[in-house]
Symmetry: C2
Subunit: 312 residues, 2 copies
């Protein structure tokens, strides 16, 4: 099959647009949209520092590589890679190694912050202590807080994440299904700056997961190609399946969901403006409550016995 834009052989068929693209045109297709998203989300004046949350997976590695590429010529903008070490022995070390290698190659600083030093427990410990819980219900708040803290500590103006189109559309559907309108109003990217919170940017927000994967492969970006061992217990899996089936039936569904949401977003944000944040009474991190979600979960896990339960 031939590329629809030149005479080279196609490497990918973009089902929702009908186009076949060769390697060069596919890479250009991804980069153009990521650049457009970046500029739509943030107006870089020079002098900014951007932290990139790097798990070592395809999405965040592609994000770091794309940002280094876009901003490489701008000496006045600094990138810093940050990896959150959740403490998952069978999974995280390989990701850290890839993130570190990629930062080395891109010539950017790399820092690691571990749950042990923020939440006080590794995820392996959390799962052993509270085996009934969905691990992500701990890991989500812990990661959000750790990444924000690390980004703030390096005085970053923004924190970029690898959130792709599939993730974005899933989050929208999940919050519609939960009727959580306030959460819908607060999904990233963040335009407003709140004290203590580093605004998130998401350059891959309109790029399908599969295209990010292919982009990373074609560009030789080092990444850790694995799934978190605890992920299959997450509710998100159900929405991933649903969305894949809808996209299969009707190509372009993910884009339609995000574009429709983007029309509603300003209305929701006006009706549900950002809540005033307090410093958590326990850890000082920003929260809408008296004690933040991460501290609340930390309390919860400490109620469980420190040893894993005996196998039944």
């Amino acid at each position: 099959m031939q590329c629809d834009r030149c005479d080279s052989a196609a490497v990918e068929w973009i089902r929702y647009s009908g186009e076949h693209l060769c390697r060069g045109h596919f890479v250009e297709f991804v980069e153009r949209r990521a650049k457009r998203e970046l500029h739509a989300q943030v107006d870089l004046q020079g002098g900014e520092r951007i932290a990139v949350g790097m798990s070592g997976g395809k999405d965040s590695s592609a994000t770091a590589s794309l940002l280094a590429d876009f901003l490489g010529r701008r000496r006045d903008i600094e990138l810093i890679g940050i990896t959150i070490d959740e403490g998952i022995a069978s999974y995280r070390p390989a990701g850290i190694q890839r993130a570190k290698a990629l930062c080395g190659r891109l010539g950017i600083e790399h820092r690691i912050l571990a749950y042990e030093d923020t939440a006080g427990h590794t995820m392996d410990e959390v799962v052993a202590r509270d085996p009934e819980a969905i691990p992500c219900s701990y890991c989500g708040p812990f990661r959000r807080q750790a990444l924000n803290r690390a980004a703030r500590e390096v005085e970053a103006d923004y924190v970029a994440t690898g959130l792709n189109l599939d993730d974005t559309a899933q989050s929208i559907l999940m919050n519609v299904a939960r009727g959580d309108v306030e959460k819908l109003a607060r999904l990233g990217p963040h335009e407003s700056r709140q004290p203590g919170l580093v605004p998130r940017i998401q350059p891959l927000r309109m790029i399908p997961e599969k295209e990010v994967y292919l982009y990373a492969l074609l560009q030789g970006i080092e990444f850790h190609d694995a799934t978190c061992p605890y992920a299959d217990r997450a509710q998100r899996g159900r929405f991933r399946e649903m969305l894949n089936r809808l996209e299969e039936d009707s190509p372009g569904t993910r884009h339609a969901i995000v574009r429709g949401y983007d029309q509603m977003r300003p209305l929701l944000q006006e009706a549900y403006p950002p809540a005033t944040l307090n410093a958590c009474a326990r850890c000082g991190e920003p929260t809408v409550h008296a004690v933040c979600k991460a501290c609340e979960l930390r309390d919860r896990i400490e109620k469980f016995a420190p040893d894993a339960p005996e196998p039944a």
Copy 2:
């Protein structure tokens, strides 16, 4: 299993609330919510005429029965049953017969309006002429227009439909998945009155389909228990499946979807106010375009040969 509200035997377990209910308390549970919805949707002053769109199925039959029950003592409010005859020989006659019988028992007038007299074609003809199309894509606009016309012709102030909670949540999800924000803003019930359009009310909007079914059975309401032979080709089936699975995983999902939507609705309605309507240049029915969707589809079907295609 015993009723949670009295000593009688339970007939139903309401999974999203955890309650077991006996026949009497179940019936009361359905009626109370339908009455609350009716009053939330419309402020009846006396002197109104309400048309009920009656397919003869469980939802619209329960709606007619409930409205007759609620309004029976009010001599100043009139109900009229209207059945739209789509012209589906294997399906519709039994529905018409049930709707007619129910109207007879409730002591309300019953009228029939056929697609043959509005769209100029039966659905059986449409499907034979354009077998590739999804039949609902014709039937939806034809039915909306026919029901509105019939309601207007009897000078109804409102037209009540049997839309239940499952239907409502499905419609919300479908329009989110299509990114159709304007359509989301315009889902019923309708608060504003537009020239030529009879506002729709939906008393069963918060009652799950399964409960409507059981209510109709327990109350001995005559209804036609069948599915349209063309329905399996509709995209809605996919959303029905998805929603059933979500509700199974997480009881209360349908309610959450509709409640979340109801929070967004006023914001959407403000941003997307009702479009100014024209009289269709062809048939005079209200439309936002020059020619209405039903006339457009009527043109389309007339381009196909009048005979069914030869079997391959």
